[in-house]
């Protein structure tokens, strides 16, 4: 096997409050390794308003700005403008929002910034629900999943919103998906994004042990299975048009991914078939978009 190489710098300090096995804590640690200290990161409400610690402490070793739920991309646009006024070209302005703050609540601010092609890196840390407030559904919650607002008697009826297609159709210079089981891919994409001007969007998939009702030691495994089962394919879109798919050679049925998570434990054989069909369909749609 090849040794996985990641930068040695640690910009997420010790003592943070993420749950044991938090996939997003791995996402954050790797992201901050890739982005470096010269980063100002804007945090609309999410787990990451809480995880770094409470005032007057913070485990971030970069400059962090906490913002209202709706305002991630808008606040970042402002920070960027202020830096531009000061002639600071070097500092990267990034947003770290949850799926709630991206797919739902922050979508209009994000769409506005993307349409203006604001010079910022927007990272959506997707754990498929409002995990910080008690696991309510978001529009990133997958089909048939359990949440406290989609109980097993009536699991989520709608498939996950295709945020990547939405962002691609803003024709932003760069959009990519990434997840923790592929750290070198994740870091490569962040470094690539860092070198591009304009709005860049990273869809970062982070398993959540309590919200997904899974064992804490399985976070990386489930992240890998998400890619292998094509629940979460890895790809990049440049200028809304040019697709590059990082295809996993070892494809597994979606059942392998579902069976490790309590939020899917109520699924019947029929439900698993429906989920597989949905995954196959989404994969086909991606291939079709990539082809034309």
């Amino acid at each position: 096997m090849n040794k996985i190489k990641v930068p040695i710098t640690e910009n997420l300090g010790h003592g943070h409050l993420a749950c044991a096995g938090c996939g997003a804590a791995i996402s954050m640690r790797l992201t901050l390794k890739a982005l470096g200290e010269k980063t100002i990161m804007v945090f609309p409400a999410s787990c990451w308003s809480i995880v770094p610690g409470f005032w007057p402490y913070s485990s971030y070793r970069i400059t962090a700005v906490h913002a209202g739920f709706v305002t991630g991309a808008a606040t970042a646009s402002g920070v960027r403008a202020a830096l531009d006024v000061r002639g600071d070209d070097e500092t990267l302005v990034a947003v770290w929002a949850g799926d709630g703050g991206t797919f739902d609540i922050g979508l209009q601010a994000l769409s506005g910034a993307a349409e203006r092609n604001e010079n910022l890196l927007y990272i959506c840390n997707d754990n498929e629900g409002y995990m910080n407030t008690g696991t309510q559904r978001s529009s990133a919650t997958p089909l048939l999943a359990w949440t406290t607002t989609t109980p097993v008697m009536q699991p989520k009826e709608n498939p996950k919103k295709d945020i990547m297609a939405i962002m691609a159709d803003h024709h932003i210079p760069y959009a990519a998906t990434a997840t923790i089981a592929y750290p070198e891919d994740l870091i490569r994409k962040l470094e690539k994004a860092k070198g591009i001007r304009g709005t860049r969007f990273i869809h970062l998939f982070s398993p959540c042990p309590p919200g997904w009702k899974m064992a804490s030691e399985q976070s990386v495994k489930i992240s890998r299975l998400a890619v292998r089962s094509r629940i979460f394919p890895l790809y990049e879109i440049e200028n809304g048009r040019d697709y590059t798919i990082q295809e996993e050679q070892r494809v597994v049925p979606v059942r392998e991914y579902l069976k490790l998570q309590g939020r899917f434990s109520h699924l019947t054989e029929k439900d698993i078939e429906i989920t597989q069909a949905n995954v196959d369909d989404t994969w086909e749609r991606l291939l079709r978009r990539a082809r034309c």
Partner: protein, 581 residues
């Protein structure tokens, strides 16, 4: 700043809610319910190696391109890597976990690569400088005796080896044809042992020239005279002219190659001696037919040997059993019965039973009986305990007389080179413990690899160093997400046409590039090779790394015990245990 901050009044607070300190004071280690820790476990290959080679360790050295380091590791346990890499039956490979994924690692080929690399550099094992005053006599210079001599010399003993034959090496020299084990390879490894100060006296036979009473100057004796007497078939005519013993014929061929033989040779037996005889005979330009009373499946010879013998034109007739050796027209005429297989016997193989009235005749110039060997007990000193055809050794390695130890084929029915090397090492450990007045049995038990019976002398010499958990790593404990299928690399073999022209070695040593590829295939079961997955995936940054250096340390102040390092370790080198309450 890792202290908690307190404000004595509102005026001390900042104007806006800006952070003033980090969270290092928050010791999240207190959340932990399970504790990960680095713990090397026993790889199945090492536990299966009768010679006790530290296989994972030497292969990992190859992978790091440190071939000399690999050689040093093998030589800690085994003075014969060049021999074993060629002719050991490599039980390590049948236990290799990679076999459950694609194909086992070609461990023997890597061992051979390392040995030949060291030969090219003219590497020598360092000579033990100061000698102890105790002297040890070793009788028999085969793999058991020489392994014992090697380890005792490294333990600073004054060692003398007595050999009845004019050259050292025992069965390695006399029983193995040079197309499998070239003599120069054997000579190099023997001279390496001599270079440690071991005195080899050839032409001295136990019983005739030498008796136990003559060895009063020696504080311990190790007897490893082997098993050289051919087992007969107990059928009429087997003592007649024209009927040879397999081992005797092999000895003649191996020592001179000038042997007068007729054209057609019938070889009786299904073991490695039968194969070696038949393949040697083919190389002398004769025709060889092997007669075996069971089927191919039950053949005790190693699969590679059978395949190569067939390639070279050896004929094998299965399910025939000779009952009489007769004569006809100046030829030997073997009368045989056809056999069929019935239910399994105590050896786990199906028992052959004769088919009545199925007599058939096979004519040959010579008949060679290669139906196994037994020990020659007549010259052994009185007082040695014997049982079921072998000399019995105690759990402390001794053989019934105070100060006398025994090993090799003489003491075991598992007659392989690796077993002999292992028993020589056990003898050396036992003799050292005996001479130092220590508990030999305890030392042996303490240094078993896994559950045993393989032994580690490295462990014996370094009692305080980090030791492996004896638990053998199972395939299910490895994480296959980090490995891609990769083809097993093999030594190349020369063309059959070339092979049968003479006694040149059949297979060749791996090239450096191929050896590196093959070493990369090793899972390194239970042994951390610093892949750093634990460091990369820790959500809490609790795997300590100093600058670029990996430390094998968990920062328990902050580790929350999620267990990701345990799951993502590809090789089962991290364990989890419940946190003490």
């Amino acid at each position: 700043m890792s202290k908690q901050i307190t404000f004595k009044s509102v005026s001390e607070m900042p104007m806006i809610s800006v952070s003033l300190g980090d969270m290092d004071w928050n010791k999240t280690g207190t959340w932990r319910t399970q504790r990960p820790f680095y713990e090397d476990k026993t790889p199945p290959c090492s536990a299966a190696c009768p010679a006790g080679n530290d296989i994972v360790a030497f292969i990992q050295k190859i992978a790091q391109e440190d071939f000399e380091g690999a050689w040093n590791i093998i030589k800690e346990e085994n003075p014969f890597p060049g021999v074993c890499g060629r002719v050991c039956f490599h039980p390590c490979e049948s236990k290799c976990n990679r076999g459950s994924f694609d194909e086992p690692v070609a461990i023997h080929a890597l061992e051979r690569f390392v040995a030949d690399f060291a030969f090219r550099l003219n590497k020598k094992t360092g000579k033990a400088r100061e000698k102890r005053k105790e002297k040890v006599a070793i009788i028999g210079s085969g793999p058991a005796g020489m392994s014992c001599a090697y380890h005792l010399a490294r333990l600073h003993y004054d060692v003398t080896v007595f050999e009845s034959f004019s050259l050292a090496g025992g069965m390695l020299r006399m029983g193995i044809p040079s197309y499998r084990l070239p003599k120069n390879i054997l000579d190099r490894e023997l001279s390496d042992i001599e270079a440690l100060g071991v005195d080899i006296r050839t032409g001295v036979s136990l019983g005739e020239d030498l008796r136990l009473e003559d060895l009063k100057d020696y504080q311990a004796v190790f007897i490893s005279t082997g098993a050289h007497r051919s087992r007969g078939l107990h059928i009429p005519g087997e003592k007649e002219k024209g009927v040879l013993s397999g081992l005797d014929l092999l000895k003649k061929i191996n020592l001179s190659k000038r042997v007068k033989l007729g054209d057609k040779i019938a070889v009786i037996g299904g073991g490695n001696t039968a194969m070696d005889v038949a393949r040697s005979v083919i190389r002398l330009g004769k025709k060889a037919t092997i007669l075996y009373r069971r089927s191919r499946e039950e053949m005790p010879a190693f699969e590679d040997e059978i395949v190569e013998a067939l390639e070279e034109g050896v004929k094998i007739r299965y399910l025939v059993n000779p009952i009489r050796v007769g004569q006809k027209d100046g030829l030997k005429r073997l009368e045989c019965l056809r056999m069929e297989l019935s239910e399994k016997d105590e050896s786990g193989r199906r028992r052959p039973v004769p088919i009545p009235n199925s007599n058939l005749f096979i004519d040959a110039d010579h008949v060679v009986i290669a139906a196994g060997e037994e020990i020659e007990a007549s010259f052994l000193p009185e007082g040695l305990e014997k049982k079921e055809g072998i000399v019995l050794t105690q759990r402390d390695g001794s053989a019934g007389i105070k100060g006398v130890f025994a090993g090799g084929d003489l003491t075991s029915n598992q007659r392989t080179i690796a077993h002999a090397i292992g028993s020589g090492k056990k003898g050396a450990m036992a003799i050292d413990a005996f001479l130092k007045g220590k508990d030999a049995e305890g030392a042996i038990i303490q240094n078993l690899i896994g559950e045993g019976p393989s032994l580690s002398i490295w462990g014996y010499l370094h009692p305080d160093e980090r030791t492996r958990n004896p638990q053998i790593v199972k395939f299910e404990e490895l994480n296959m997400d980090y490995f891609e299928p990769a083809k097993r690399q093999q030594e190349s073999k020369s063309a059959v046409k070339e092979r049968i022209k003479g006694f040149k070695e059949v297979s060749s040593t791996l090239s450096e590039g191929v050896a590196l590829d093959e070493a990369e295939r090793c899972f390194s079961c239970g042994t951390c090779n610093e892949c750093e997955n634990c460091y990369v995936f820790c959500p809490d940054g609790s795997i300590l790394k100093r600058e670029e250096l990996f430390s094998h340390q968990v920062d328990y102040d902050y580790c929350k015990g999620c267990g990701i390092c345990f799951t993502e370790c590809p090789r089962g080198a991290i364990s989890l245990k419940e946190e003490a309450k």
